[in-house]
C-alpha cells in the first residue's frame, strides 16, 4: 500500500494521476461515475463481474465514452437510459442531436425528465450519405462558411458539443452522430476529441458519443458495442438474440423489444465484458 501511495503521489505531481488512479475500478465511487441504473450494465462498465459492496458502476465522469452499434440494437435506448437515470438524480443533461432525431414523447415515456434536458437540435436531414465534399475537413472552418448543408450541420454539432462541455452546466453530455456518414466521421480530426477530453478532465461531466461505428474514446472512457449477440458464457440460460413480438394473433401482435448483447471495453482491460441486453419497447403515440 505504501508503494502504491508513493506511485500515486508521483503521478499526481506529474499530473498523470487520472490515467491510473482515478480510472481504476477500485476507485470508482458515486462521484466518479454516472450510473445508468441498469445493474448488469453498470457492473460491466465498472469492470466487475458481480455486485460488490460499496462500489457503483456506470459511465465514468470526466471521460469520453461511446455507444456504438447497428440500427435497432438498442444503442439509442441505452443512451436514453443513461439520460433518464441522470435526470432522475436531478442532474442537468444535454443532447446534441445532429440530425434532429430525438422523439420527446417516447423519451418522456422512457423516464427522461424533459425539463432537465438541454436539447440542441441540428437540422433534420434525412439524405446524408451523398452530401459530403471530399475536401471537407470537419470543424476546421467557420460554421457558416462554404460547404454542403450536411457539412455545416455536422460542424455546428461539434461546435455545440464544445460549448456545452466548456460551460460545465450539464453533467452528462451526449452527441448523436448515428446518421453522420462514415466518410465524415473518419475525417473528424482526433484533436476534436482531445479538446473535449481536456475540457471535461477532472470535472463531473461525462461525454457519450452515440454512433453507428466506433469514433473516439478517452483513455478512461468506455466503449459499449451493442448488437454483439449472445453472451460468450456457454452456460447462459438466456434466450437467443432477436426481435421479441408479443401477442399470438395478427391483430394483437405488437413489438415487445429486442434481445441483443453488448460488449463493454476499456483501454486497460484485457478483454471486453459481455452483457446480454433486452430492450423493452415503450410505445408513445
Amino acid at each position: 500500500m505504501a508503494v502504491r501511495a508513493t506511485v500515486e503521489a508521483l503521478l499526481r505531481e506529474r499530473k498523470l494521476d487520472r490515467t491510473l488512479t482515478s480510472a481504476i475500478p477500485e476507485r470508482l465511487g458515486e462521484d466518479a461515475v454516472s450510473p445508468l441504473d441498469v445493474d448488469a450494465l453498470d457492473l460491466a462498465l465498472a469492470g466487475l463481474t458481480g455486485p460488490q459492496r460499496g462500489l457503483a458502476g456506470g459511465l465514468p465522469r470526466g471521460q469520453v465514452s461511446e455507444v456504438v452499434g447497428p440500427a435497432s440494437s438498442g444503442r439509442t435506448g441505452l443512451l436514453w437510459a443513461a439520460l433518464a437515470a441522470a435526470t432522475r438524480r436531478g442532474e442537468s443533461v444535454a443532447l446534441i442531436d445532429t440530425f434532429d432525431r430525438f422523439d420527446p414523447p417516447t423519451a418522456a415515456a422512457c423516464g427522461i425528465v424533459l425539463p432537465r434536458l438541454l436539447w440542441v437540435r441540428g437540422q433534420a436531414v434525412s439524405k446524408t450519405a451523398v452530401a459530403i465534399d471530399p475536401a471537407w475537413l470537419p470543424g476546421v472552418r467557420a460554421v457558416n462558411g462554404p460547404g454542403t448543408f450536411v457539412e455545416r450541420v455536422i460542424d455546428r454539432a461539434i461546435k455545440s458539443l464544445n460549448l456545452v462541455v466548456q460551460s460545465g452546466v450539464c453533467t452528462l453530455v451526449a452527441i448523436d452522430l448515428i446518421d453522420v456518414p462514415a466518410t465524415a466521421l473518419r475525417r473528424l480530426p482526433a484533436s476534436t476529441w482531445f479538446r473535449i477530453e481536456r475540457a471535461i478532465e477532472g470535472s463531473d461531466t461525462a461525454v457519450v458519443i452515440l454512433a453507428a461505428q466506433s469514433v473516439a474514446r478517452s483513455s478512461g472512457g468506455r466503449s459499449i458495442v451493442m448488437g454483439t449477440g449472445r453472451p460468450s458464457d456457454p452456460g447462459s440460460r438466456l434466450p437467443a438474440p432477436g426481435i421479441v413480438w408479443k401477442g399470438e394473433h395478427d391483430r394483437t401482435r405488437r413489438l415487445g423489444g429486442v434481445r441483443s448483447g453488448a460488449a463493454v471495453s476499456a483501454a486497460r482491460w484485457s478483454h471486453a465484458r459481455q452483457v446480454a441486453v433486452h430492450t423493452r419497447f415503450v410505445h408513445a403515440v
Binding site: D39, A40, L41, A71, S72, S73, G74, T76, G77, W80, A81, A84, G90, E91, D100, R101, D103, P104, P105, T106, A107, A108, A109, C110, G111, V113, L114, P115, R116, W119, R121, G122, S126, K127, A129, R156, K159, S160, L163, S167, V169, T171, I178, S236, L238, I243, G247, L255, V258, V275, A276, V277, H278, T279, R280, F281, V282, H283, A284, V285
Partner: protein
Amino acid sequence: MFAALCAPSISAAAIIDVARAFTPRFEQVGPLVLLDAGGLSRLFGNAQELGAHLSQALAKHTADAACPERDPRQVARAEGRVEARVAIASTQTAAALLALGRPGLTVVEPGQEEQALAPLSVSVLDRYEHLTGSLRPQAASSKPQAASPDAGSGWHHPRHTHHASRPKPRAQDNRRLDILTKWGIRSLGALAAIPGPEVFERLGDGGLQWQALARGVDARPLVPWVDEVPFEAALELEWPIEGLEPLSFVLARLFEPLSERLEQADRGAAVIHTALRLTTRRVHARTLPLPAPMRDAKTLRTLVLLDLETHPPDAPIDTVRVFIEPTPGRVVQWTLLERAQPAPEQVSTLIARLSALMGETHVGSPQLVDSWKPGAFEMAAFQVSDRSASAANDRDGETSPTLAPETRASEGAPAVPTAPRGEHAEVPNAMRRFRFPIPTRVQVQEGRPIRVNTDRQGFSSGAIVDAAGPWRTSGEWWQEGQAWDRDEWDVAMTDGTIYRLVVERGVGQWFLEGIVD
C-alpha cells in the same frame, strides 16, 4: 443561560430594541426574542436581577413609546399596563416555553427546567411550533428587506432569507395536539414522562421533537442576528477623469471590497446604483437592475461600464459612488447529497451562444403537449431548475395522455421502465423519428406490408420479416391543415432493423417515420 422576552401588547421591533440594549446576541422567534444571557451577570447581577432589569426595560420602553410627552403619571400608568413575560433558563427552549406559558418573570435554576415546564399546558408546544413555523414563510418574497416588518429598523436576519433552512409551513390544524388531548395528556410533564420509544412508535419524529421540547432540550443553537451595513462605496478623485477606461480602474477599486462583503454576507447584487458627480456639479445617476443575483467584482464592473458606454456622462467625473441593493445569495446546492446547480449566468451564456449557433428554436428543453398527435412536442426554455422540475415531470408522467396503455396499465408500473436485477440488462427502446418522414414504396399483401423499397442510402430495403399493426390514429380534423389520419406499422427487416411505417389514409402514401432503436 438564556432569557426569553415576550410582550403581546408590544411590537417585535420594540422587544428587539430592548434586547439590543442588553446583548448583541439575540434571536427573534415570532413575537419572542431569545437572548444569550451568558456573561451578563457581571453587568446586571444574578439571573433574578437580570430578569428584573429586563422586565423593567421592557415596561419602560413601551411606556416611553406610548407617551411621547413623558408625563410621569401617564408613563407610570403605561408601565403598569404592559404584560411583560420574561423567562430565564439554562436552555433557550425552556426559556421560550416559559415565556409563552407563564406571565411575569420566571427564573429557573439550571437542571430544574423539566420540573419548571411540567405544569405548562401541552398547547404551549403547538403555539411554539406555530410561532417558529409561521415566521419563516413571511420572508419568501424576493426582497426580504422590504417585506420584513422590522425592515425600517435596519436589522436583517440571515435566516429570514435563507431558503434552504426554511421548513415547510405548519399544517392548519395540528393533529398531534388532538391525539395528545384524546390520550389525556394535558401537561408537558405528562408528555415528558412517556418513554421515548413509545412516543416515536405512535407519533413519529414529530412526537419525539415535542417530547424533547417538553423536557426543555434545545433542538438547535441560538442563531444571533447580524447587522446589515449598506453596501455602498464612494471615491472622491483628486483629478477629474474623462473617458471610461480610467473609470474602470476606479470601479474595480470600489467593487472589489463590496464583492467581498457581499460574499461574507451571502448576498448578491440585485440592483446597482451608480452616481457620478461631474465637474459641472451635476450628478449623473444610473440604475442597473441585474437579471440574476451576482457578486463577481469583474462582472459587476463590466456591466456598469457597458451601461455607461451607452449612457456616458457629459462632463469629467469628480466623485464616483456605487450603491448595491443586496438580495439573498443563490442556493446552488440544496443538500449535501445533491450536486451543486450551475450558476444562472453560465446557463444564460451557454443558451445565448448555442442559440446564435443553431438558431433560437433549436435550443431548449422539449415539452409535451396535450395532444395525441404522434411526436407532438414544443420547445421551452432550458432552465436549471430545482426540485420543481422533477415534480412537474412526475405530474406529466402521471397524467400524460401520450403514454401507451401497455406501458402504464398492463405492467402495473409507472412510466419509467425498471431494470431488473437479473443477469441481463434491460433498457428501453428509443424511437429515432424523422422530422420529415421519408416517402417509401411498400408492397402490401392481404392488408399487411410485406416489402419496403426506399431510394435513400443508408436505409434497408427488402422483404419484411415480421410486422405488427395497423395502429390507427386520427385527430384534429376540426383544424384545417392540422388533421391526421393514418395507420402505423412496426416492421422488422431482414437485417434486424425495425422501422415505423406510416400510411396516410387520405392519400394512401407510405412513409418511413422512424427507427426503433
